[in-house]
Symmetry: C2
Subunit: 414 residues, 2 copies
């Protein structure tokens, strides 16, 4: 048995206990975690200072350093997030359907925890707590595998959470951190069949590719977002300009930010200068098709790879299209299935876009930036699923459960 | 582009059309398929005769030959199955939730097809039609990959269905059969990323293992069933004997048949002879733990591997346990998460078993044999899912859909 298999077996044992833990017990554990974060942060801050020093010495970029940093304010924010999860409804134990069959069998479908969840993620240490408490509230054990730059911080946070869970009378193995930060340990976690019920990777394209290659357990893919805003000819152009500004520039690093603007040829000459005026204050670079560049002389020419690039930055690709057919073709070819928006005043065009675009979230006359657990009313989220099985779109507590059929009989045989 | 990638691209194009096809259109295609089966079966029977001749020459066992055989009566049965699927409610296009957010966004969650489904299955040619029409009714394209012994039959059935779909005005590429029956083509299908939204393997342990190793697309595992019946000390022993007889012997080859009987020590001396008397007329062999063999001298001794074996035959393993704790431990260690049953008269024991056993279907006082789409009221099924993501238990039409969020805005930005 490898170290990770041992950890898997411990998590599985903890999951069996958690599966029948009451909401009160789980909330007591969450309360203990929040309280520990608010009162015992010295070890966490010391560990984070060590991670920060090592990262600085290794020449980490300032934006990444900022993602790694924890301070009192951020820890309080994380604790507040834990209390928000406490306040959410327990997703476990709801009988979502119950029927009595002609033979008298009463067949119910009940929500149950998934079991043991593996999380692989990158730099931000707050994910360590956010993900762990969501899993815990839904009755799951979790095995965390964060970025190696944040290992000391993650380890301190995990120790703090394990202590709190034990004080609340639940098994501390409900939350554990993979201790080996080598690439091999990530690969082993992806193949931990028999211990993991699901693996949720949260990170960039490289991580997702590695998971696709190496996973031997069910995976929920999250996060890749090449999102489009399509300005149809009947659009209110002022509204369209506000929407593309918001979709691109309000937070370009996140997955629900837009990467590509599609605009109908009939509206291009009027709209593109308006859009440019909105984007200019953000110093947003534009990469356009030839028609775009003819209208906006300062735009750079886009090449084919631009249509498949998640910039995560103040860069927008722009393509002029002949109409709905070409827009739908472009989106079908280049969308990652995350969030897609049309701006239009035409009822039939709106309906066609909603019906034909294949993505987790399809918008009419709103920014793609709303694809988010909080905005959708799910409470906290563990990621945005971009595949079609089990969960699609923001994954809240409900998506961290499975179901089982419970059947009450009185001696029926078939 | 390989041949299979070309097939994948054609299926994807067909799926885009199917996604917006009306229920009427899809039912017309199903009606055309049923009619073709009922009236144009000559090619199918000729192809099946060729498959049967080749299989006989290769020395196929009689039981397998029987699974491969199609005759008029069986084809009529398959056609009747198609009409049953026609009669089921269309699972696509239901708005399962819709809320208006404080900012005025109206966010709905709508059922949509999964897209392109890959099916890998073994000998029975009726699966070719059963699976294809379920996929079609739920708006999905399907790429079928059946067993090579049934290739000619499957090819004739697929040609018949494609012709019928085209006559009904839908794209014939909605249904296609992998033409290469080598193992390499199965492996390639498992890795057909970008074309398949989900792969559903239906077959024995070897197929499932191969899928786990090779799949690069989301998979729904089906079918493996090491199911237990636990006779608790308070059980009505007559009822328990009827249930174990039914669970083991009514159809031992299927996945919801029981493989292991667990019996409380307090009830063993009274119950085991009763069970044996029920099983004897079926010539059911018994493999028992030492205590079982002491009570039933004709039972063979079981070894450790018996507890993990899906016999698929008239063989039952039997273990005497000290009570609920040991029964739950045994099930947790050896269950494949399919169907588990307790026979008991004790309310608290029943509740504990329902709450703590982790399986797709958990029964009190009924046979495990009821785990089935028809018995559960789902109509037809494409398999029994034994994993926890997306679908668990009998997979009917509803489980062949995903959801998408559709968002009606009026210019909202975040």
């Amino acid at each position: 048995m490898t170290e990770l298999e041992r950890q898997g077996a411990q998590a599985r044992a903890a999951a069996r206990v958690l599966a029948t833990a009451s909401t009160v017990q789980k909330n007591q554990a969450l309360e203990a975690i929040a309280l520990a974060l608010e009162t015992c942060w010295d070890d966490v801050l010391a560990a984070n200072a060590a991670d920060m020093a090592a990262a600085r010495a290794a020449g980490m970029r300032p934006a990444m350093l900022d993602r790694l940093l924890l301070d009192e304010g951020r820890i309080r924010g994380v604790a507040a997030g834990v209390r928000q999860v406490m306040a959410l409804e327990d997703p476990v134990g709801r009988m979502v359907e119950m029927t009595t069959r002609p033979n008298g069998l009463q067949i119910g479908k009940k929500t149950v925890p998934l079991g043991v969840i593996g999380m692989i993620y990158e730099a931000r240490p707050n994910v360590t707590v956010d993900a762990a408490v969501l899993c815990l509230k839904a009755g799951n054990a979790v095995i965390l595998r964060g970025g190696k730059e944040a290992f000391a911080t993650n380890n301190a946070l995990t120790a703090l959470m394990r202590g709190a869970i034990a004080r609340a009378g639940l098994p501390e193995d409900a939350i554990s951190l993979v201790q080996d930060t080598s690439r091999a340990s990530a690969t082993e976690l992806m193949g931990l069949r028999g211990y993991l019920d699901v693996l949720i990777p949260r990170g960039g394209a490289g991580l997702i590719r590695s998971v696709v290659e190496n996973a031997r357990v069910p995976v929920i893919e999250t996060g890749a977002g090449v999102c489009h805003v399509y300005v149809e000819r009947s659009a209110d152009l002022d509204m369209a300009a506000r929407i593309i500004e918001n979709a691109k520039c309000s937070r370009p690093s996140v997955c629900n930010a837009a990467e590509t603007l599609l605009v109908d040829r009939d509206a291009a000459a009027a709209f593109l200068p308006m859009a440019q005026a909105r984007l200019e204050p953000w110093h947003c670079r534009l990469r356009g098709c030839p028609e775009t560049c003819a209208i906006l002389p300062t735009a750079e020419p886009a090449d084919e790879s631009d249509w498949d690039t998640e910039y995560g930055d103040y860069i927008l690709s722009i393509k002029v299209v002949s109409g709905m057919d070409e827009a739908l073709e472009h989106i079908a070819a280049h969308s990652t299935g995350h969030s897609e928006a049309i701006v239009t005043s035409d009822y039939f065009q709106a309906q066609r876009f909603l019906n034909e675009v294949d993505a987790a979230a399809v918008y009419v006359n709103a920014s793609t930036r709303f694809t988010d657990g909080g905005e959708f009313g799910e409470g906290a989220e563990i990621g945005i699923a971009t595949q079609k099985l089990h969960a699609r779109g923001p994954m809240g507590l409900r998506q961290l459960t499975s179901t089982k059929y419970v059947i009450y009989g009185s001696g029926q045989v078939r």
